[in-house]
């Protein structure tokens, strides 16, 4: 068995959780000490650990500690979310906590790529739209939000607003080609041709 079945992701529906602030880095999402692992399993409980717990591991004020957000699957964030380190541990931890989609003002490049590799949309909208959604989610933690990846809209509270899903991301999610290994493997001969065309590449026979 070499290729796994990839599920197309046209829409994501669920309740939301607001995580406010610009420039939230991956060291905050997954502190470095939790990277000392050789699998991603079990990372969910350490997501945002130092924001959620004090020195004695007592819970602090944080949306992820609140009962009303425990079933949330859509995280609503602000600008440059996921900046810093390339650690896939960050989206893996949030995914394992329960997040299936992000809506935000903007995302850091590597974080966004890591999310796509997991089939998690990173949908963007202007600051006003995002703030309005954060406020709505805060007041309506049980309300359903629907992210229409294909149609690039967001529906909640009987309204539908436009959002942006980058072309390549949208196509990959909607057509179920976001897990790229099989796709890339299907071009093995062309890869070898490219390798042989590069002056610096020395291949073993």
């Amino acid at each position: 068995m070499s290729d796994t079945e990839i599920e197309p992701i046209e829409t994501v529906a669920g309740t939301g959780i607001p995580i406010r602030g610009n420039d939230i880095d991956t060291d905050q999402i997954t502190p470095a000490r939790y990277l000392k692992v050789i699998t991603f399993e079990g990372l969910g409980e350490f997501a945002f650990f130092d924001q959620r717990f004090d020195e004695e591991d007592n819970p602090k004020d944080h949306p992820m500690n609140e009962e009303r957000f425990q079933d949330a699957s859509i995280m609503v964030v602000n600008a440059n979310f996921g900046c810093g380190s390339s650690r896939e541990h960050a989206p893996q931890a949030l995914m394992r906590w329960g997040i299936d989609a992000f809506v935000g003002e903007s995302f850091a490049e590597i974080f966004k790529g890591n999310c796509l590799a997991l089939g998690i949309p990173t949908v963007t909208a202007d600051p006003e739209t995002v703030r309005a959604l954060q406020e709505f989610v805060d007041e309506n933690p049980d309300a359903e939000i629907v992210v229409d990846v294909a149609g690039q809209t967001l529906s909640y509270d009987q309204q539908t607003v436009d959002v942006t899903v980058e072309d390549a991301q949208r196509k990959a999610l909607v057509e179920g080609i976001w897990d790229t290994t099989a796709l890339l493997r299907s071009n093995a001969d062309a890869v070898r041709e490219t390798a042989e065309s590069l002056p610096y590449v020395e291949l073993d026979e």
């Binding site: 068995m1 070499s2 290729d3 602030g21 610009n22 420039d23 880095d25 060291d27 905050q28 502190p31 470095a32 000490r33 990277l35 000392k36 050789i38 699998t39 130092d50 020195e55 600008a79 440059n80 900046c83 810093g84 380190s85 390339s86 650690r87 896939e88 989206p91 893996q92 903007s106 995302f107 850091a108 490049e109 590597i110 790529g113 890591n114 980058e166 390549a168 196509k171 990959a172 057509e175 080609i177 976001w178 897990d179 790229t180 290994t181 890339l184 071009n187 062309a190 890869v191 041709e193 490219t194 390798a195 065309s197 590069l198 002056p199 610096y200 590449v201 020395e202 291949l203 073993d204």
Partner: protein, 473 residues
């Protein structure tokens, strides 16, 4: 879209095909791996019954978790030992070169690639580490990838990538005495923002960049990601070629050097290349930079006042307020005199021989402040040996610094070298994020190696240009 830049040329040469989702399938010329981000990728590979397709283009080392004092095995930290052992197990049956500590070639992945000549102009270089842009200093197209992409590179030697825009950053003029490459890149990030580079690759150019040695160029490219840019590069030139000639790859193979040089020349950005954006910075106006906050974009010149959050653009105010509270600094003050507990010279940004020499020049014949813990952590075993051969270890230890083994050390809290409680550090590393150096309450002030040395001597953040005055007082 840009045209005729190094980025365009290297991208085109390495494009295998256009994928159905509109991304390009990009061939990877050099895949660097380390113990933190590779084990899960090896696991995914095994789950799918796949093998490493091009082991000859992959190179491994250990850096993040290795202790920098006692490096004997098993490591005292069980989790670190398990990670090192996992990498060894994963590599046991694969023909991948592994620079483990026993080889004398071990070090931070972004230090060993260049010093061995693995990093070359016109190569694509990837690694599961965001500071991979470092290798762009040689005119390589180098960027960090996540673990799922590492799996893809293992399985196919390619990645699926979206072509990005190119911004040329011209740093024109002459850097003043005491101003380094680190100050240039901190100034760039302050200017363009921590997310200003999202969607862009940065081409660093201009006379001040061209006059830098390779270590300086690496420091600048290294921190591209801190400005949001996944990759950054400098066009290869005589400085690049002189460096490469003396590396393992070419030292005994001048014919190979000559054979590749036309390719290297061919991928330089054209004189009339088109860029998506061009930004210019005045090198003469720069002074030593230090950060006052908790993002690398929150920097000031050493004589400049810390900004009032109210004067910043609206979207930066909250982050600035929280940062000032964490760092315990006040708007209007300068960072000069900010007391430090720890001085760290090391990391993939600033742990090369040239960095250690520059710091040693400041330290020589002096002593660090009594309450300051000073650490010097060479970027690789080779850097360490070369530094010892010229007596730099003694310069540092005579002054009261610890002279340690190669590794990522206190750049991030994954090994024994960590801040404790609310200690403040003067650090030559790349990130001042809350908790980055191992303690949630820890406070990090980023600066160049000579500035860290000066801070260590004075016990507080200090303008290295005025050091003699400060110490004699």
């Amino acid at each position: 879209m840009s045209e005729g830049t190094l980025y365009d040329k290297v991208w085109d040469r390495h494009t295998v095909t256009r994928l159905p989702n509109g991304q390009d399938q990009l061939f990877v010329g050099l895949h660097l791996i380390h113990e933190v981000t590779s084990p899960q990728a090896f696991g995914m590979l095994r789950e799918r019954g796949l093998e490493v397709a091009y082991p000859e283009l992959t190179h491994a080392t250990v850096d993040h978790i290795v202790p920098t004092a006692d490096q004997s095995r098993p490591y005292r930290d069980e989790a670190a030992e398990e990670m090192a052992a996992a990498l060894e197990r994963n590599l046991a049956d694969i023909d991948i070169v592994f620079d483990d500590p026993a080889t004398g070639n071990q070090g931070i992945v972004h230090v060993i690639g260049p010093e061995q000549g693995l990093t070359q102009p016109g190569k694509t270089v990837v690694c599961g580490d965001s500071h991979t842009a470092t290798h762009g200093a040689f005119g390589a197209l180098a960027f960090g990838i996540g673990t799922s992409q590492i799996r893809d590179v293992f399985a196919t030697q390619t990645v699926a990538m979206t072509r990005q825009r190119v911004r040329q950053i011209n740093v024109d003029g002459t850097l003043q005495e005491g101003v380094t490459a680190k100050d240039v890149v901190l100034a760039i990030i302050r200017e363009l923002g921590t997310d200003g580079g999202v969607g862009y690759v940065y081409e660093y150019a201009g006379s001040a960049v061209e006059n830098l040695d390779m270590a300086g160029r690496m420091s600048i490219c290294n921190m591209s990601i801190e400005g949001g840019a996944r990759a950054g590069y400098v066009n290869p030139d005589g400085t690049t070629y002189d460096y490469l000639r003396d590396t393992d790859a070419f030292r005994d193979a001048p014919e190979r050097f000559e054979a590749l040089k036309p390719y290297w020349e061919s991928i330089r950005s054209d004189e009339d290349a088109e860029y998506d954006d061009v930004v210019t910075l005045d090198a003469d106006a720069l002074e030593p930079m230090v950060t006052w906050g908790t993002t690398p974009g929150q920097g000031v010149g050493i004589t400049e006042p810390i900004p009032d959050p109210a004067d910043l653009p609206a979207e930066k105010r909250d982050v600035a307020r929280r940062a000032q509270e964490h760092m315990r600094v006040e708007p209007g003050d300068t960072m000069t005199g900010y007391p430090i507990d720890v001085a760290f010279i090391g990391s993939c940004t600033n742990a090369r021989l040239a960095d250690l020499r520059a710091a040693a020049d400041v330290v020589r014949g002096r002593s660090i402040a009594p309450d300051v813990r000073g650490l010097v952590v060479p970027g690789s075993q080779r850097v360490k040996a070369a530094a010892e051969a010229e007596g730099l270890d003694a310069v540092f230890t005579d002054a009261g610094f610890e002279w340690r083994g190669a590794g990522c050390s206190m750049c991030l809290g994954m090994n024994d070298d960590q801040l404790v409680g609310d200690q403040a550090s003067a650090s030559s590393s790349n990130r001042n994020f809350v908790g980055r150096q191992g303690s949630k309450a820890g406070r990090t002030v980023l600066m160049s190696p000579p500035m860290v040395a000066a801070a260590a001597l004075a016990g507080a953040v200090t303008d290295v240009r005025a050091l003699s005055e400060v110490i004699s007082q």
